[in-house]
């Protein structure tokens, strides 16, 4: 193996993940991609969704990421996201409420080009992704 892989997930509020990983799978703009140690430098935007990685002990960890991008460089995967939460930190209740609210708004909105429509859609995506990561969606 070409050394070890470091995963850093950073949001404007705090550093969410900073640890060694065996493999990282992230939701790239053009589809999921996996990173193993020795990966070439790579830069991509991320979709709202689930990031998976195996920690040192081989346990699979799930992280919700929203509105970010990832950079792979020198065996370090850096994810800069507007928001990110580890599976255990996800507020399921809040996500459910947000999902319901977003669905209602989508039902009300008629014009697809509407800003409100787009906003509600994004909110719905976030809620669904959160619930999926939490394993209850």
């Amino acid at each position: 193996m070409a050394g070890k892989l470091m995963l850093e997930v950073v949001t404007p509020d705090k550093s969410v993940v900073s640890e060694e990983a065996q493999i990282v799978v992230a939701p790239g703009e053009y589809g999921e991609f996996g990173v193993l140690p020795g990966h070439t430098t790579f830069l991509t935007t991320l979709k709202t969704g689930m990031l998976r990685y195996n920690d040192e002990g081989g346990n699979e960890r799930l992280v919700f990421v929203n509105g970010g991008f990832a950079e792979v460089m020198l065996n370090t995967v850096t994810v800069l996201a507007e928001s990110a939460e580890r599976r255990r930190d996800i507020d399921i209740e809040r996500a459910r409420v947000a999902m319901k609210r977003a669905e209602e708004r989508l039902a009300e909105a008629t014009k697809r080009e509407d800003v409100d429509f787009q906003r509600a859609q994004a909110a719905l995506q976030r809620a669904i992704a959160r619930l999926k990561v939490a394993g209850t969606g």
């Binding site: 950073v10 949001t11 404007p12 509020d13 705090k14 550093s15 790239g28 703009e29 053009y30 070439t40 430098t41 790579f42 830069l43 991509t44 935007t45 991008f69 950079e71 460089m73 020198l74 850096t78 800069l80 507007e82 928001s83």
Partner: protein, 300 residues
């Protein structure tokens, strides 16, 4: 001359004021700590972001002809927007007046060049001042500076600025915030938000360049599109860091102001106590004189 009772009452009043200022000082100190921690927490994100954007910009190169719209300066500047950050609340020394003075200077200067100016106010103090003077205020946002706010505030605000810039309503957007230099110094600073000035590096982060050979990135989507995705974020990052700096500065300024006020109260209590003691002594002396005078008279 003030009676003993009056002086006593005054001492009591000053003591109460002192209690309040002291409490405010401590509240500001604890909020300051929170704000500073937030600034610290944001730094890794900001640094990394600047690094990525910097290397991406380098790679695309400065093609003067085909600059992305967010980077291209306008040939004719007709309208300039200013995002002004002040605090919502007072009692923080000259914090707001410094910011407002700087803003007024900026607006006057632009106005002098025949440019139309518009304001976006974050913070009650700045809004109230410029509203009273009938400046053109586009929008105002209260309850953000100095309070808890998330990155989404910066995104919404930044998005608004970008929309009006791309829509041609405005030709330049600047941000005026209070830079947190140190506990004792907060400087009002103007920063250009749009068009995005040359992507500059955050100080002290560029050691990564020396790590050795760093091959070019594979980019998904292609570098140009990626750049277009990331550029708006640059504005959000700037706005967010401006908000963080201003909030931290506000608490620092209030802490210093309240510290001053508390020590002024202390001084005042000392001098009032002195006056009180003197007055009391004078009253006793006068009474004694009376008694002695009376006794002398009886003797005679």
């Amino acid at each position: 001359m003030a009676t003993l009772k009056d002086i006593q009452r005054k001492i009591g009043a000053v003591k109460k004021t002192q209690k309040i200022t002291k409490a405010m000082n401590m509240v500001a100190a604890s909020k300051l700590r929170g704000a500073q921690e937030k600034m610290e927490a944001f730094r890794p994100y900001a640094n990394k972001f600047a690094e990525v954007l910097g290397s991406l910009a380098e790679r695309i190169g400065a093609d003067e002809e085909h600059l992305p719209p967010l980077l291209a300066p306008r040939e004719e500047i007709k309208t300039v927007d200013l995002l002004l950050m002040t605090s919502d609340r007072g009692l923080c020394g000259s914090f707001n007046s410094n910011l407002i003075a700087k803003a007024e200077g900026f607006l006057k200067e632009k106005g002098g060049e025949g440019v139309e100016t518009r304001l976006i106010c974050m913070g009650r103090k700045g809004r109230d001042y410029f509203r009273r003077r009938k400046y053109n205020i586009l929008s105002d946002h209260i309850g953000i500076v100095g309070a808890r706010f998330g990155f989404n505030v910066a995104v919404t605000t930044g998005q608004g600025l970008i929309d009006s810039f791309l829509g041609g309503e405005t030709d330049e957007v600047h941000m005026l915030f209070s830079e947190f230099v140190s506990m004792a110094r907060q400087t009002p600073t103007v920063q250009q938000l749009l068009p995005i000035a040359a992507v500059e590096q955050v100080e002290g982060t560029q050691e990564a360049e020396d790590v050795g050979y760093v091959p070019e990135h594979i980019c998904e989507p292609p570098a140009e599109e990626l750049m277009a995705e990331l550029l708006p974020k640059q504005v959000y990052v700037q706005v967010f860091s401006g908000l963080l700096e201003t909030s931290t500065s506000e608490h620092a300024a209030r802490m210093a102001a309240m510290d001053n006020a508390t020590s002024n109260c202390k001084e005042m209590i000392t001098s009032l106590t002195l006056v009180y003691n003197k007055a009391r002594q004078a009253a006793i002396t006068a009474e004694l004189m009376d008694i002695v005078g009376g006794a002398e008279a009886l003797k005679g």
